[in-house]
């Protein structure tokens, strides 16, 4: 039974394994050197390294990196021209407008493709892994899909907002999400009007964003909340409150009465204890354990304590994350390998931990899609289910093949080989394998390679299989032999866990 205590892990239990666990879960893992550096610190300092990231430089995103004008609305002149052409049946003009639209559709799709690669690259290169990891968490939590939003720039604005507030304050995020153009469009709130409220955003605020499904609200609360949200819409790239569309009558929501608007609604939802429990439950599933039986009774105790802390801290996230990452609960050995790597985690961790070249971002981006995690396009407003839902017999092959691609540059379909200008396998990973196998035993080298790849301690039978394989490679575990061993290690079922 895992330790439910949120008290800090004692110094004597801190070491390479705990530091690696922290770096993998609060980030995307790291090289043996990075793990050793964290292991040499006091636990609290190691955690702060990940959480207090504002001092670490990142590539600033230039304002004009993405084109804000692809989906700009038609100007008054253009609108008038179009109306005239419709009236007069001017086919030439109509066709020009149609062509223009098709071009913009293509530009928007292309821009989304670049955005996916831009974000993936950021996750691979960042010095602030927790910032990206929490941005990914919020993307899955306030799930919004580009295909419905039909505006890549709005998806970018949402992503930027989530990154800015990634470890800030949940209340802040909740108030911002009902002003977010992409979300307002995704859940049809821009079409919600007094007398004709659209329930979509109201329902998901309760069910998926703030309270959690079935936690103390009724269908009637949803209908009333939808009225409160009328008039929350956007123009061009900005939120606007449309007073004419807003229903300013009295509403009754979760036992409170008043002429509520969207902000009042969020305030009412945030005042419920279910909110912190729901959010902390999701954080626990994301960072600690996503097995089908999670959270077990001990973990539930830990989640409840975490939720109390979140309420005391008025939804500030850093104190919650700091306590969690430092806790005896988080570091309980039962939680090594208790999370199934998301496709993003698999790709980014393989690069950051094993030190492979990042290869082609376009290829990695389509691999993510095949593995079921298209950035900016979660399957539904529920986000990604995560855990075992990532794994089925086909995604497993794609996961293994993506690792082969990163290790060797070999593309599954083309049979092309990349030529690696530098023998990357003899970098930090190769040096660590060599150092740990100093006594010259091949078995020790095999054990070192397994330890550097896997989050779980492999069972004896597995260790023996792998050692036999490494012995049969016939020579020191370096260069091409090391790459072959890594192909095998990353194909192990255990490699899918972190």
């Amino acid at each position: 039974m895992p330790d439910p205590s949120l008290a800090p892990i004692p110094r004597e239990r801190w070491g390479r394994a705990a530091a690696s666990h922290l770096l993998v879960r609060a980030g995307f893992g790291g090289t043996p050197e990075q793990v050793d550096a964290l292991a040499a610190m006091r636990p609290a300092d190691a955690v702060d390294c990940l959480i207090e990231y504002e001092g670490i430089a990142t590539d600033p995103t230039p304002d004009d990196l993405f084109d804000a004008t692809i989906r700009r609305p038609l100007s008054d002149d253009e609108r008038a021209t179009l109306a005239r052409a419709r009236r007069d049946g001017d086919e030439g003009v109509l066709e020009r407008f149609q062509r223009e639209r098709t071009t913009r559709d293509m530009q928007d799709r292309d821009q989304l493709v670049s955005m996916r690669q831009w974000w993936l690259k950021r996750m691979i290169e960042t010095g602030r892994p927790l910032e990206e990891k929490m941005t990914l968490f919020w993307h899955g939590h306030f799930a919004t899909g580009w295909r419905t939003v039909e505006d890549s720039y709005h998806m970018y604005l949402q992503n930027r907002m989530m990154r800015t507030h990634a470890t800030g304050d949940f209340a802040d995020l909740a108030y911002r999400i009902i002003r977010d153009p992409a979300m307002l469009r995704y859940l049809d709130n821009n079409r919600s009007r007094r007398g004709q409220p659209n329930e979509n955003l109201a329902r998901e605020l309760m069910e998926l964003f703030v309270l959690g499904e079935g936690r103390g609200y009724t269908e009637r609360d949803i209908k009333e909340a939808a009225r409160a949200l009328t008039g929350f819409t956007f123009e061009d790239d900005s939120f606007v409150f449309d007073g004419r569309a807003h229903d300013d009558g009295r509403k009754s929501i979760l036992g409170k009465d008043g002429p509520f608007d969207g902000d009042d609604l969020v305030k009412i939802l945030l005042s419920r204890p279910e909110c912190s429990e729901f959010i902390c439950g999701k954080l626990h599933r994301f960072f600690v354990d996503d097995g089908p039986a999670a959270p077990d009774p001990d973990a539930r105790v830990a989640v409840t304590r975490l939720a109390e802390l979140m309420r005391r801290e008025r939804y500030r996230l850093k104190p919650v994350l700091r306590t969690l990452f430092l806790s005896r609960h988080f570091h309980d050995p039962a939680y090594r390998g208790s999370v199934v790597k998301s496709p993003v985690q698999l790709v980014v961790q393989t690069i950051r931990q094993l030190g492979t070249p990042p290869r082609e971002l376009a290829t990695l981006s389509s691999a993510l899609e095949l593995m079921g995690q298209s950035l900016f396009q979660p399957p539904s407003v529920k986000g990604w289910d995560g855990g075992r839902a990532w794994i089925n017999t086909s995604t497993l092959f794609i996961r293994q093949n993506t690792a082969v691609y990163l290790l060797t540059g070999r593309l599954p379909e083309s049979g092309m080989w990349a030529t690696d200008p530098s023998p990357w396998a003899d970098g930090p990973l190769g040096r660590a394998v060599a150092a740990r196998a100093r006594e010259g035993s091949t078995d020790a080298a095999a054990d070192a390679a397994l330890e550097l790849c896997l989050s779980v301690d492999p069972v004896p039978a597995r260790r023996e299989q792998f050692r036999a394989f490494v012995r049969a490679l016939g020579g020191p575990l370096a260069g091409e032999r090391l790459i072959r061993a890594l192909c095998m290690a990353t194909a192990l079922p255990e490699y899918q866990l972190c």
């Binding site: 329930e199 208790s338 089925n392 086909s394 093949n401 082969v404 599954p412 072959r484 192909c487 079922p493």
Partner: protein, 430 residues
């Protein structure tokens, strides 16, 4: 489980024991509890006997997002329909000019959406059963909650999927790795059992490990490790155990499926997403795979706004794909052993909304397709005036349809699979 009519029964196991022994000698790490997985690999090569229950196949087609039942099976004889749908209503057959409904049951005033010519042909051919007003008590209007209810066959949406439970119930030992195949990116909950996991893929060509292309010498170790399944020392039910089992299943399924999908079909399929899925299912059935349940799904039915065009396109895709699939099965001579069932998580509200769409509703029709169905319109169409806060009251519980499919078609203990007893809907010919 000694019933000789059940799939994967003891009987099959014993008959093929000889094959097992010879395989074990070439796979040292092969452990006993994955024995049936290898057995079934052999048995795909054996011919199947049409007509016996272990040959029967169920194909489930999921329409995701909440299909608007009222614009699918149109109650054109009811004025209330035209009052509730001023701009979205489908014209009655007498209305010249616009595209009117295709008559399904003139006496009852029911018709098919004009884009459902494919289904109309199946209906006329006695191969389509339209079950009306299917739903469940206290309907949930959340996509996810309602879809989970349909997929678990429980109104609390708890536990394993109903087809997963069917596999759990009907096999002794380890489930056949391809007992259930889903085409799509992710396997739906319906197919996930306590012990059984479905095969799921979108592109069959990527359905193998490429590490052996790096160095063929890696292949034996890879095979040894993946075929080991759950190895000693791993806690049952743990994440590790789950992954090891999935790795074994993947390995066993890879060759067979890629084999099955190589040929070209006997009939021409449309090129839509659903048609491609149905074509792949047709190919696997033709190849004589042991799969008992196939699952296909398309989304796009969540028509809150601007419904008319989008919904019409989706329906055309559904009707044409299902017609081509049925033609394929007839050409193969397999139509008598394949039952197709079509469902959506809910219908939509009776009254259209201000955005030219419809919001989440409740009861909706289901389709069952094949020569074994009781063709025509089955059950009672819900009233359009006696509503439950703007929504239809269901007249048939969806689990009554499941019960009939399980009991009468799959010859499985419906009560046990569904965890309760439901009166069987009369959807199959007796």
């Amino acid at each position: 489980m000694a019933d000789p009519n059940l799939p994967f029964s003891r009987r099959i196991f014993l008959q093929q024991g000889v094959t097992l022994a010879s395989l074990v000698s070439t796979i040292p790490w092969f452990l006993q509890h994955s024995a049936l997985g290898v057995l079934s690999q052999q048995s795909t090569r054996t011919g199947s006997t049409p007509g016996v229950p272990e040959d029967r196949v169920l194909v489930v087609v999921q329409l995701g997002g909440g299909n608007d039942g009222l614009n699918t099976i149109v109650p054109y004889g009811d004025d209330a329909y035209y009052r509730a749908r001023p701009t979205l209503a489908i014209a009655s057959p007498e209305r010249a000019g616009s595209s009117p409904v295709l008559i399904a049951d003139a006496g009852a005033g029911l018709g098919l959406h004009p884009n459902l010519g494919g289904l109309k042909a199946l209906l006329d051919d006695g191969r389509l059963s339209i079950v009306q007003g299917v739903g469940y008590p206290n309907p949930n209007r959340s996509h996810f909650a309602s879809m989970d209810i349909w997929q678990t066959a429980r109104t609390d949406a708890k536990g394993a999927g109903w087809i997963g439970r069917y596999v759990d119930c009907t096999c002794s030992g380890t489930p056949d790795p391809e007992g259930v195949i889903s085409i799509g990116r992710t396997a739906p909950l319906a197919l996930v059992g306590e012990r059984s996991t479905p095969v799921s893929f979108e592109n069959a060509q990527l359905f193998r490990w490429m590490g052996a292309d790096v160095d063929p010498a890696l292949e034996p170790t890879y095979e040894q490790m993946t075929r080991a399944g759950e190895i000693d020392g791993v806690a049952p039910g743990s994440q590790q155990a789950f992954l090891m089992r999935t790795a074994l299943d993947a390995q066993l399924s890879s060759d067979r499926i890629r084999d099955a999908l190589r040929g070209s079909p006997l009939v021409r399929y449309p090129t839509t997403t659903l048609a491609r899925q149905m074509q792949a299912i047709g190919a696997m059935i033709r190849a004589g795979m042991r799969t008992r349940v196939y699952y296909a799904s398309i989304g796009g039915f969540d028509t809150h706004a601007g419904q008319a065009n989008a919904h019409g396109q989706r329906l055309r895709e559904v009707g044409d794909a299902l017609k081509a699939f049925q033609d394929d099965l007839v050409a193969q001579g397999n139509d008598t052993r394949v039952l197709t069932m079509v469902f959506s998580e809910f219908g939509r509200r009776v009254r259209q909304n201000a955005s030219g769409g419809t919001d989440h509703g409740t009861a909706a029709p289901m389709f069952l397709i094949g020569p074994m169905v009781k063709a025509g319109v089955v059950g009672t169409h819900p009233s359009l005036t006696d509503l439950d806060s703007g929504d239809l009251k269901f007249t048939t519980d969806f689990r009554s349809v499941y019960a009939s499919v399980l009991d009468d078609w799959m010859r499985a203990p419906a009560g046990k699979v569904l965890g309760g007893s439901y009166p069987k809907a009369k959807v199959l010919r007796s």
